[in-house]
Subunit: 732 residues, 2 copies
């Protein structure tokens, strides 16, 4: 008769745009684990099944690592090819990028690896000549047209097939990891469309990066593999452990920085990050990085994206410009990014391409630009940025070049960089937040790197021309190595990235995994900490938090300090003027009354009390479970009618003669609801909500039920205390 003893579908699941109950998920997983362990003693097969179950976490990690590494490699290759397609085509094989084309060519000389007859610019291919204004204009036109085409394709695909594929996805992933349900956000379609449109968007030359979206892509992979194992697909808490690790794998492949990825996931994205997840993330990040390295999209078998090798140590006095760069980064972090989502993507892409083409520093891809800016000027460097006047007596080894006066190329580069800086700043502000996949890491790094390189050259030339000044006297003797402008670019990039995201430790780790520059931890740390302080002083929140707020997601930030003197009694509902709390009694309500209660309210659950008079709490029952249970009972359990009694006790209550069969619902009753007293300070309540991941909490006074506090109530109260609009919290 007790139909609830058999599991019935959907009990224990959540509705879309609702918050999960971490404690319940955790205890459901322990139940499952216990069952498997006790069964494993029964037979060999069950033992094998339990072992498989124990290892499934590592298997999922392996799969995530493999797939996200592969996808990242494919995206890298495709972006490379399509970016070059805007300029020309490879005659020997059209699917080769410029570099691959000339690499496979036999007619390339070492000095000019970029030029080979197989690679033809569009004008050359069409008109036969690559010289003159006509050819330039034709190339210009085709560059813009390709950009328009790519961006049009990207925006259309996103709009038609997967609206969730736009943006970087990190704010939403943060929210999901904190326990929110957004169905489809990590689905197969999102994965597919995001991958394709990411390639298109980056190739179109828009000022956006692929790094943030790669985190989203990796999380989609994680979600995909979760569905293979019931351990993860049926438990929203366990699923989030996998997603945290997937985020780490995403950053790992985005930057070739496995450890930075784990730290990013820990510091920036994750909410619940037990040590077990730390180790698994580490493994996933490792496999992902390794897979990417095997695909080898950069052709240098290195994991390192912007490998640098500086030969000069840095000096104490240089901390001043580094800290200034930190301030600049902090200010960049306070820019109101992503507030212009209405602009037409294709239009922005067109304008970007039009303005980008004439300046060599904006025409090339942003990662190439950053790579050049980070570079130290060795003797073999042919870049314009390295056009220094050589001193006549060069008797030193090639890689140890003293400071020299800047040549005309450097001065040209300087004003081109200044223009590029203005362009990047303006364009990035308008690009981020558009309805296409777009990351902020690389554009921010580019802004910082440009500013940093300019500062670096300025310091270098000042030091060269004034090496008798007191501050330069000790470390800048004439003919000696002194200032490395590339290092300034690196520090500037770190500062801007830090300002936007407010990362610190993970930022420094990513930067030195990205560049291999282990000696420069102190400058990087100084810049990161300064930029965080400055940005915090001005802007209060990082880009992800501000986007979460903009969207009204119920995100309880672990970083916000709650220090107001309010008590649980001030926040709980019902308020004084409101009708009393909607409760159920343990054995006195009929099916009809329960249904009326469900219909008449929209609460997510109801406390169950001994009786309405004593108000002594027994447990808590969720709305979804209750609705499902009553509905199923009406359909399947014989004789259950409107007047049937609903009881939550162990044994049925004493019934009148010839009663309709009662409905036993103890199975769906949560017998350990979380309670606090009405005198509990709200700061403790906030702490409990954060640390235990509660959905709601009941308020009692000397054993009597007084009210309820939900996560939404907490968030609204916090918003109110910070003089924000409490109605900005939209979901529960």
């Amino acid at each position: 008769m007790d139909f609830l003893d058999e599991p019935f579908p959907d009990v224990g699941t959540y509705e879309d745009f609702h918050t999960i109950d971490w404690l319940r998920e955790k205890s459901r997983d322990t139940d499952r684990h216990r069952k498997i362990t006790s069964k494993s003693k029964e037979s060999m097969w069950e033992l094998i099944k339990s072992l498989l179950d124990a290892w499934s976490g590592w298997v999922v990690m392996l799969l995530i690592g493999l797939l996200s590494g592969t996808l990242a490699g494919v995206i890298d290759l495709a972006v490379d090819w399509m970016t070059d397609l805007k300029e020309g085509v490879c005659l020997s094989a059209f699917w080769y990028s410029h570099e691959q084309c000339c690499w496979t060519s036999n007619q390339t000389t070492f000095d000019d690896r970029d030029k080979c007859p197989e690679w033809q610019k569009w004008a050359e291919l069409m008109t036969g000549t690559s010289e003159g204004a006509g050819a330039y204009l034709l190339n210009y036109l085709l560059y813009v047209l390709w950009a328009l085409l790519f961006s049009f394709l990207a925006v259309s695909l996103v709009r038609v097939f997967a609206p969730y594929a736009c943006g970087s996805g990190i704010p939403e992933i943060k929210t999901i990891l904190s326990g929110f349900i957004i169905r489809g956000y990590l689905g197969k379609w999102t994965l597919l469309i995001k991958t394709v449109t990411l390639v298109l968007a980056v190739s179109s030359g828009l000022s956006l990066g692929k790094e943030g979206p790669l985190v989203h892509v990796a999380c989609c992979c994680g979600n995909l593999f979760c569905s293979l194992f019931s351990k993860y697909s049926k438990n929203e808490g366990k699923r989030r452990e996998v997603l945290s690790a997937a985020a780490a794998a995403g950053v790992s492949v985005a930057f070739g920085a496995p450890i930075g990825g784990v730290l990013f996931s820990l510091e920036e994205v994750s909410y619940y990050f037990p040590l077990k997840t730390l180790w698994r993330s580490f493994f996933a990040a490792l496999v992902a990085a390794f897979t990417l390295r095997s695909i080898n999209p950069f052709g240098n078998s290195r994991l390192v994206l912007f490998y640098v090798e500086y030969h000069t140590p840095w000096y104490m006095a240089e901390l001043v410009p580094f800290i200034l760069l930190g301030v600049f980064g902090g200010l960049w972090g306070t820019t109101r990014l992503g507030r212009y989502p209405v602009l037409e993507v294709v239009g922005v892409a067109g304008v970007t391409a039009l303005l980008a083409f004439p300046n060599p520093y904006t025409r090339r891809s942003t990662s190439e630009l950053i790579s050049e800016l980070f570079n130290d000027c060795g003797a073999l460097e042919s870049s314009q940025l390295c056009d220094y006047v050589n001193s006549p007596n060069m008797s030193r080894p090639l890689d140890d070049i003293p400071d020299r006066p800047a040549g005309p190329g450097v001065y040209t580069a300087l004003w081109q960089l200044a223009l590029a800086l203005v362009f990047k700043v303006v364009v990035t502000v308008f690009t981020f937040g558009m309805k296409i996949p777009s990351g902020l890491f690389i554009p921010s790094m580019a802004v910082g790197a440009i500013a940093g390189r300019m500062v670096g050259i300025a310091v270098e030339q000042t030091a060269y021309h004034h090496h008798d000044w007191i501050i330069f006297r000790n470390w800048c003797r004439p003919g000696a190595d002194c200032v490395t402008p590339g290092l300034y670019a690196m520090v500037g990039a770190a500062a801007c990235l830090g300002g936007v995201t407010r990362m610190t430790v993970s930022l420094v780790v990513i930067m030195f995994e990205l560049t291999g520059g282990l000696e420069y931890i102190v400058p990087l740390m100084a810049a990161a900490v300064t930029s965080k302080w400055v940005a915090d002083a001005f802007g209060k929140e990082g880009i992800y938090e501000s986007h979460i707020q903009l969207n009204g997601y119920p995100y309880l930030d672990v970083r916000d300090e709650f220090s107001h003197r309010t008590l649980a009694a001030d926040v709980m509902r019902p308020r004084r003027s409101e009708p009393p709390l909607a409760v159920l009694t343990q054995d006195a309500d009929s099916v009809e009354e329960v249904e009326a209660l469900i219909k008449g309210t929209d609460y997510n659950g109801f406390p169950v009390v001994v009786s309405r008079e004593s108000e002594r709490l027994i447990g808590f029952v969720g709305r979804r479970d209750l609705t499902l249970a009553v509905k199923t009972a009406r359909q399947k359990q014989e004789g259950v009618v409107s007047s049937s009694l609903v009881f939550f006790t162990e044994d049925p209550p004493p019934l009148p003669d010839d009663p309709p069969p009662p409905l036993k619902l103890r199975r769906i009753l949560n017998l350990s609801p979380f309670t606090v007293t009405d005198h509990t300070p709200m700061e403790t309540v906030v702490d409990i909500f954060r640390k235990l991941g509660l959905r709601q909490c009941l308020v009692t006074r000397s054993g009597r039920l007084l009210g309820i506090i939900t996560k939404k109530d907490v968030l609204r109260h916090m918003a109110q205390m910070m003089d924000q609009d409490p109605e900005s919290i939209m979901f529960n």
Copy 2:
């Protein structure tokens, strides 16, 4: 009349060997913060005070960084000098170490930087000759005598002045950070004696490292500076935030690895590690590393302790030996270290010195040994380990030497290394756990590095002699670079360190901050994960956890999964057979009765109920606070006698005519005690204890108080469930 409105001393403090209540500490800090904020609006001076208060955290971090960096530098220099003192003395200035002596000498040639006339071995100084068996024996004797002297001094100082200075201190620091009080463990005397005896112990040549103890030293610094600010000295929770950061600074200076330090603190040591602490730790670690770099004890202005530069990439097939080294490291981690504390330190030091002197690989300091083992054999390398047979046609650049057959020196080195391995293993097992400051990091790394180097040489020679084997064919063509034995040493060191401590992410970060070998993340990660798996499969616990258990500290490990099907009702006290719970009523007990209750029980606190009949919970009062309050009231409040009523309500209860003045104790009553229902699964209770850092938790059923669960009850229950002796948990 209400004397408790004024703060009176010691309310809210804890007794020695007791656990703190994190929630209470946190809410006390919020109160304090609130007071300062509201006062800050009153006057300029209060505003400045509030700003100073806000910045005091960063100031403490700065001070910790400066002091621990300085201490680490001084220790490094002193160890260097005293280690060399065992061999000889510098004639030009006796306080110079061997290296410094010859560095300042004018008569040193470049080829033989180690030999200069100013540095004299003892035999040379005493007898005038450094040749012959007599001189050798004299040197041997003095080496052993110095070792005996140093170790005797170390052990005496520890025994007489600061018994807490022994060991690495990390297990105790873990316990303290989890909320336990051990008075004096981080005191000034411990700091002083630990610093001095650490130098003595390391210099005596015992197989121990200074890295672990440096964490203790840094934490002592942290505790010292806490006492400067009432924000930290009066709040045990805030103090622990500072200590977590101090631990990071300690590792930062121990290895020159600031980021590794932060991760070590996060992964291995800390219990409560909010993001704010992450940033502060980062800052402290940065300052500490920077201070150490300015002192520059290694004389190379690098932060990097064992800088390596390898020129060969690693190959997939090499993962097999790397994983084998991981297995070896895991096995090393299961060694029962530190279980022989009764052995006489001086005896062990004597035996160590006697056995160490004849073998060149054990005579030198362990860090020098590791450094040599990590080294790649460049062309200029004069080490015995680099005695390869040179091929006749050497037309390559100097730093790119192909694989060559091993010469006789390598074979000699191999058996010396084998002996050194056995020696190190045996000696380390007996050394760790003795009553002197001793760390395990460096000895473990040495064991791993020796094993790794031997495996590396074996693989290299196999590859050289059999380069036609399938596995070697692709990557080991004759005349090409192929295997780097130094890399194997590095991987082996990481594996052994990982096996002992079970670190993963922080281990890899420390290893590559230590060596600068960013390219080798994957091998390091593979070894770290393997060694962790193997050690976990065999030994269950890392060295720190097993020492915590050995000492019976109440440490609730976040890593232990609790998956048994017990309920709060099964763990709570009183058990069925026991007398009922000792409670106070809100307004019906007299001073006499309260005193009798305090005297008759040894509980840490008492629940307060409405009445003994209704059993409805009002709050919780701590034993220490209650004792102090009653005692103070007896002394200071007029008319309080044994028959005075004690009441916890807002207003005094109705009293009979001419009563003795009642005693109002609402001020010390915790009105928001933590409660769970008796049906709450123990896994949830354990989770709550862990995450909220509770000391006790009350158990109710439908609003009635049933019992109490303390941290000790939880730990005992967990021990029982894991078939361990519940009596091993000694403190509450």
